[in-house]
């Protein structure tokens, strides 16, 4: 105890006499800690969402959107003709017509409940309560499950006679994701159960697939609440998904549009895109924001490291004479080194405490004004540790230099 006191007392006295520089260092540390923790958190949040697995066979999918302009056309028939034409292109393994795709931003979400009673209760409350969820529906023609490469965990694919057309008719069966099964039926096996989107239309669950992302993301919860319906898309707007081996992709991408235009030129085709492009365009903003955030975090660390090193350097140098005297009075090199390192630790600790408070405040401010979630405290702890290390490293070089000073030279030179 006495020894610690002996070590600390001179440091504290010295700090009290150099309030300006000590507080400058502490402010620098505090500000860096607050900003870098928040920025790192925002980076992590965005990276997490851009790396969500979509649950479909992304690397072998091509998607193309088509809009028929002929108002008299029977859309379902047209779509099936298009799909048959696509299947004849060599290199294409399978194809299907769907109304939307994961990360396509074209979200058809329906309030869905595990039972009729739950649906009625939710309708009464006008909110998603009880065993209910907001679920994105994927409609598709036969071959959808195979083309998308959905991974069936239980149950089966749709039978051909289960497919219906026309939005008014709800299909009798559905395939749902693992996440949705767990949400709607927490205690039991969802397979074979009946779910409701409409009081009079029971839908039996015939299959459970691994998680599939929704067309657009909704925060951090419920992104995998999707289900598949055996329902021919019947709007003039339709998306064709095509499964193709990676080595044939470029070849197929070039031929898809021509094949479809040959069948009917009075239509608008989107650019055929590999699914990687669909994903990239969904996360475009996040990607550029991540780049920006990483740059600013690195820049901040660099600049504040610069400031902290500069200050420590100067501060040690300013007290070379004192170091000389202490050395002459019998202090070892280790004593000198320890003195400066402990001093730095104390100052950085002050900074870190303020930094953590500021960091929490900044996070609250960001939560109010921007869509940022609550900063986990371990981020601040991590930031604090990083700054302690940074501070110790910054002080090390000048402290070592000071400790190498020979006692005689010290008193003579300065």
């Amino acid at each position: 105890m006495r020894i610690i006191k002996l070590e600390l007392q001179p440091i504290l006295v010295a700090l009290r006499r150099h309030k300006l520089i000590a507080s400058l260092l502490a402010i620098l540390v505090a500000f860096t800690c607050a900003v870098v923790c928040n920025v790192a958190f925002m980076i992590q949040q965005r990276v997490m969402s851009t790396q969500l697995s979509s649950g479909i066979a992304e690397h072998q999918l091509i998607a193309i959107q088509s809009v028929t302009l002929d108002p008299s056309a029977n859309q379902v028939v047209r779509h099936q003709e298009d799909v048959s034409a696509l299947r004849t292109i060599s290199g294409i393994e399978s194809a299907a017509a769907v109304d939307t795709l994961p990360l396509d931003e074209n979200d058809n979400a329906q309030g869905t409940c595990a039972s009729e009673q739950a649906l009625l209760r939710a309708a009464q409350a006008q909110a998603i309560v009880g065993n209910c969820a907001q679920v994105s529906v994927y409609d598709g023609s036969p071959g959808m499950v195979k083309t998308l490469g959905l991974h069936l965990l239980a149950g089966r694919d749709f039978h051909l006679d289960e497919f219906v057309s026309g939005s008014q008719l709800d299909p009798p069966v559905a395939i749902i994701t693992r996440a949705l099964a767990k949400k709607l039926y927490p205690n039991g096996d969802a397979l074979g159960e009946t779910l409701y989107t409409d009081p009079d239309k029971p839908i039996r669950i015939v299959g459970i697939v691994d998680n599939v992302l929704r067309p657009s993301l909704h925060g951090s919860h419920g992104n995998y609440d999707s289900m598949f319906w055996p329902q021919y898309p019947d709007q003039s707007v339709v998306t064709y998904v095509i499964s193709v081996a990676t080595q044939n992709r470029a070849w197929v991408l070039k031929r898809v549009s021509t094949a479809l235009y040959q069948l009917d030129a009075n239509r608008i085709l989107g650019r055929p895109r590999a699914f990687a492009q669909v994903r990239a365009s969904y996360f475009q903003n996040d990607e550029s924001m991540i780049g920006l955030l990483v740059c600013s975090a690195l820049g901040l660390l660099l600049v504040s490291a610069l400031g902290i090193t500069g200050l420590s350097n100067f501060w040690v140098q300013q007290r070379m004479r004192t170091v000389g005297i202490r050395r002459a009075l019998g202090a070892t090199r280790m004593d000198i080194l320890r003195y400066f390192q402990i001093e730095n630790f104390i100052i950085v600790s002050f900074g870190v405490v303020f930094g953590i408070l500021m960091g929490i405040g900044l996070n609250l401010l960001l939560m109010v004004h921007f869509e940022v979630s609550k900063l986990p405290l371990w981020y601040l702890a991590l930031g604090a540790v990083a700054l302690w290390i940074l501070g110790q490293l910054a002080a090390l070089a000048p402290a070592l230099r000071a400790s190498k000073l020979s006692p005689v030279a010290a008193t003579r030179n300065i």
């Binding site: 300006l20 520089i21 400058l24 260092l25 402010i27 620098l28 500000f31 860096t32 900003v35 920025v39 809009v67 302009l69 108002p71 235009y261 030129a265 009075n266 239509r267 608008i268 085709l269 475009q284 903003n285 550029s288 924001m289 920006l292 955030l293 600013s296 820049g299 901040l300 600049v303 504040s304 610069l306 400031g307 902290i308 500069g310 200050l311 350097n313 100067f314 501060w315 140098q317 300013q318 004479r321 960001l366 004004h369 921007f370 869509e371 300065i414």
Partner: protein
Amino acid sequence: MLAYYVELAVNSLFRARIMTGLMVLAIGLGIGASMTMITVLHVMSGNPLPGRSTRLYVPMLDPRPSSQGSTEGNSTPDGFTWVDATNLMSAKRADRQAAMSSGYAAVQPGRDDLHPFFETGQYVTSDFFRMFNAQFLIGTGWTAAQDGERAHVVVLNALLDRKLFGDAGGVGKIVRLNNVDFRVIGVLDDWRPQPKFYAQKNGHIFGESDQFFLPLQTALDLNFGFNGRLSCWGSDGNKKRQSDKCTWLQFWVELDSPARVSSYRRFLINYWHDQQASGRFPRNNAPPHLYGLMAWLRHEQVIPSNVSMQLWLAVGFQFVCMLSVVALLLAKFLRRSGEISIRRALGAKRRDIFIQFGVESALIGGFGGVLGLMVAQFGLWTVRQRPDGYARLAQMDIQMLISAIVLAIVASVLAGFLPAWRACNVPPALRLKEQ
């Protein structure tokens, strides 16, 4: 004397090249980052119609039922109802007035070398073009009578005209939109105000321009595709767009003098009271508003929150840079306490020392500012590479250039103030004695 200080400063900076370089780097990065974002924000909050913006106003009426207010707070409705827009149109109490809505259409060129494609446009009433001073390359807009007749006429913007008709131009020719033929009566001179202030706010308010303009009633009659929010309450059958329970239209008026503005305000309030008397506008706490163009853009918060977050990030970054520079300058100046003591002992006043070090930090600021300008140019270049609509706008103008340099010098003199103050307070005799 100042020249001498500059010489001293240059010498001192040159002696510690690495230190100087680091300080210039810190200031440059800070200024560069914040100038990049300030410039982006500056161009985004610019005036879309300079010279005319002071005469353009948005009236806002709130026809929603009172029960809806609890969840939406004081938000403004998504626009006008068809009923109110037609009432204000026919009242003709402003110098010009127009109702409009964004839409899209399939353009069918009927050529082998050009497949059909979607284009975004605006469905407007006849006063639109003159009210917003949209310049025609050739031809004119349509008349109020043609509005009423639901004429099949279209005004194209320059890009679409060129795409469809090449250099010959399309005036007098036919364009097929959504399987309906329209006669081209005018071509605009690449009219693209930024932001697209007259449309309902969405993610494309910057960057996108309308390429065709159709009479509103024609588009409504033909059931063309509309873009934007349509908010309804109660139920009014299938006549959604013509109902008085659905807001979706934008309504603008031109008022040429302050007197007209106040008389139009009175007119709006009277209209509101009249309608209340017949049972509409149940929200008593939401009287009509009349926004000027720039006030409207502020009210709509057209600047995306991503951009303002980036601005705050940049400002925070510059603050840390400045703190570091203060630290480095303090270290640099106080290391020269001996020199200061000698100068003070030889008769230099505090003021002289202060000016000497002030000049030194201003010099660093100057260099930092130049570096900052280069960093900002690079930053703006990277912004222009982004996919966002506002990206193309990110250019530095003279005003921004000057403020960048001023910001750099002010920042570094501020950063140098504390260190220089400390330096000039070094007592003359004490340090000499210590030596």
